[in-house]
Symmetry: C2
Subunit: 234 residues, 2 copies
Amino acid sequence: MENYYKAHTKFYLAVDCIIFGFDEDGLKLLVVKRDFEPGKGQWSLVGGFLSQGENLDEAAQRILHKLTGLENIYLEQLATYGEPARDSAARVVSIAYYALISTTKFKENKSNRNACWYPLNGLPNLIFDHNQMVAKAILRLRRKAASRPIGFELLPAQFTLPQMQALYESIYQQQIDKRNFRKKILSMNILEKLPEKDMTGSKRGAYKYKFNPSKYNELLNNGYHFEIINNGKQ
Amino acid sequence: MENYYKAHTKFYLAVDCIIFGFDEDGLKLLVVKRDFEPGKGQWSLVGGFLSQGENLDEAAQRILHKLTGLENIYLEQLATYGEPARDSAARVVSIAYYALISTTKFKENKSNRNACWYPLNGLPNLIFDHNQMVAKAILRLRRKAASRPIGFELLPAQFTLPQMQALYESIYQQQIDKRNFRKKILSMNILEKLPEKDMTGSKRGAYKYKFNPSKYNELLNNGYHFEIINNGKQ
DNA sequence: CCAAAAGTGTTATGGATACACCCATGA
DNA sequence: TCATGGGTGTATCCATAACACTTTTGG
């Protein structure tokens, strides 16, 4: 029965979360100071060990919550890293997850002194293979962002078009023409214009919008394909 | 030091390989009959356990080789599956890999009676969550195929354009216009026309081509983006 | 009244699609 | 000679890209 299994080795399994944050200053990464050896005091992704009885997604949520207080974040699995020597202290295989949120969702404060946002350009050296994970996550985020409107998971469900455009510009690190961007996004008919304006970004104010999830899902189910940035080049 | 680690659970780690095969009959999947419990006698993906000292890619290669004799297959990591009850006998987390090869690379024979090709439409029920893995791999293959010429890993390094087109048609399950397909592929300048013809498919014969890897890599390095099928819909 | 960001249309270009006929050959 | 699959060119269309001025309002 189980005998066949018993002949094999078991491994530590970790989950590491690449949390991208977005605000007026662009894209940032959530990093923590490790408080245990090896690498105590070094920067690291938000991570922890898989426990008995939980699945991988649950582990990611739990670990993220425990270290940052963040809850109900849409995490997506990125890849699994298993170089024998990737962790200097023991053989640990790590499953990486990533998410994109508004930086406002996690406020650096005293009780969370060990976690903070770091601008994407100019990341510090992270422990183990974490920089490699981040690089891969950025590529994935770009691919993803090109084909569907991320942002659902973003901002307090309301946002202005200039904000949304700034998000895409920081993901792609390139300027986008205002008129073309608006044309494209609005032509999808998945946004609803709200009567209020957001006055924080300018004197004139910009109209707020919100996603219309039902229209969005309807399109998705009908096989519609979103292409916000034409990533011919990359 | 390692004390922090020791407090945590260890897990069995498996690798499962989704091997797509292509020939004149379309796409197929390589499946094996399990020869141990649980699920002895049922169909399963090519899989096995991770060993100490090898990384994930190496494990996938080793397991694939052991069960099928296949060597030097370009395997790509797909995703990791970790539902606590996915394996009925023990908690096993499985890292799925996939590849696309020519069915001629693996010939079913007496010594390999337990592994065989199965047409993609009309797969049997596979053990555990293996059907789910296959479904995900198909989607990934389509995305991949849309953005770069797969086929490098395909056929004895020589192929005809009708063959290549048939490959794309079976991946996408849709007809492609002959002229448009040729135009697109040839305009990339990554194929070399060979003087010989392949006479197996027709009386007239079709010219053989081969990839020119150096031109291909040159383009890749220059940031060129391949788009063979415009997957506006899916 | 001025600075700063929001908002708005049109044109040109290029890639994607649609489409039909001749060619070579083995049987 | 004919049936079968291989090979070729062009016209239309639509999505993308480029581009500049007016509007609003807080200071």
